[in-house]
Symmetry: C3
């Protein structure tokens, strides 16, 4: 059984954001899959998806600060500069963190660890609403 | 055909560890799949999975040293500090390396390159036993 | 429906290279899948695959420069040195960027964003031709 859907996330400011519930609300059919697998792809090259801690929000602030310091803007050797100083670092962060996730589904639920959630990593200052493709497959 | 299993790895010290054989011993059913795909998810946010060199153990030591230097503990700007100085860096490394793998299966074997193996990346000083979900699908 | 193929890419120099069209030319059967999912694995530990900007070639030059600066050669603490100074950094970059991709297929096409393409990340000075496994599954 296959199900594929495309949807847009609410726009969010630059930073790391927990979006597990927003994603789940877009694919209620997930409840009927067991076992299965969910693939999520973000259709952009300046934002990314990752799995990390779903509890303490300071983890997400530390992520933003770490990546801003370690993938800096305005390096003199950057050639790709005409889309804004946040653009090339956003591309780099997107490839370091990755554009897609693959999550097992068990008994109609994402089989993540207790402390795991899905992050939208918004690397641009004004990224706007981001498009995701959800591809769900498995037994129903 | 779908098969899904959850299992725990032996506890290992902080560092990078080759676990290909331990993973394979948990899913002997893989021998009947052709073609197929194996998804592995680690259900934790302070450890990760990656594919890398399965031969010279100094590669794994260099990985530990590289990531310890480049994702340092005790940065003054870290806000998330109450779970130990190794905790926030462990979350960062987990997202940089990733929590899941997807490996093709051919003739009942993982279709990896000659020099590729599966690493458990244990980022905590005392991470204990880690849980994995293996989701195997394909033709049998 | 499952389809699995192994093929070699043209050899390319060290750097980041857009290979979307070369990959698609190897799997013309993709046109019959809807929906589906494509898994690509690079069978090497010193090269990697990522999704990023398919337009301005300076993005790829900046990627090479960023990763060469941030995953440097000849660090005095590296133990794994007997395969050349570009070897251990190549292993590190491969795990940071990742050895596989999973891309949704819709109406017989890769469902990527307008600006997304597939990069071969060649981390060695003389990597030669690289082997990929394509595993395609879905409804036809």
């Amino acid at each position: 059984m296959w199900l594929q859907k495309e949807f847009r996330l609410k726009p969010r400011p630059r930073g790391f954001h927990l979006i597990t519930n927003e994603v789940l609300s877009e694919i209620p059919e997930l409840k009927t899959f067991n076992p299965g697998l969910l693939n999520l792809l973000i259709k952009h090259t300046s934002a990314s998806l990752t799995i990390n801690e779903n509890a303490d929000p300071t983890v997400r602030q530390d992520f933003e600060n770490f990546f801003t310091r370690n993938v800096p803007e305005n390096e003199s050797y950057y050639l790709h500069q005409d889309e804004g100083s946040d653009d090339l670092p956003a591309h780099l962060k997107s490839s370091i963190l990755g554009a897609s996730l693959n999550i097992p589904v068990t008994n109609g639920r994402l089989n993540l660890g207790t402390w795991q959630g899905i992050y939208l990593c918004e690397h641009r200052n004004h990224g706007g609403s981001r498009s995701l493709v959800a591809t769900l497959q498995g037994e129903t």
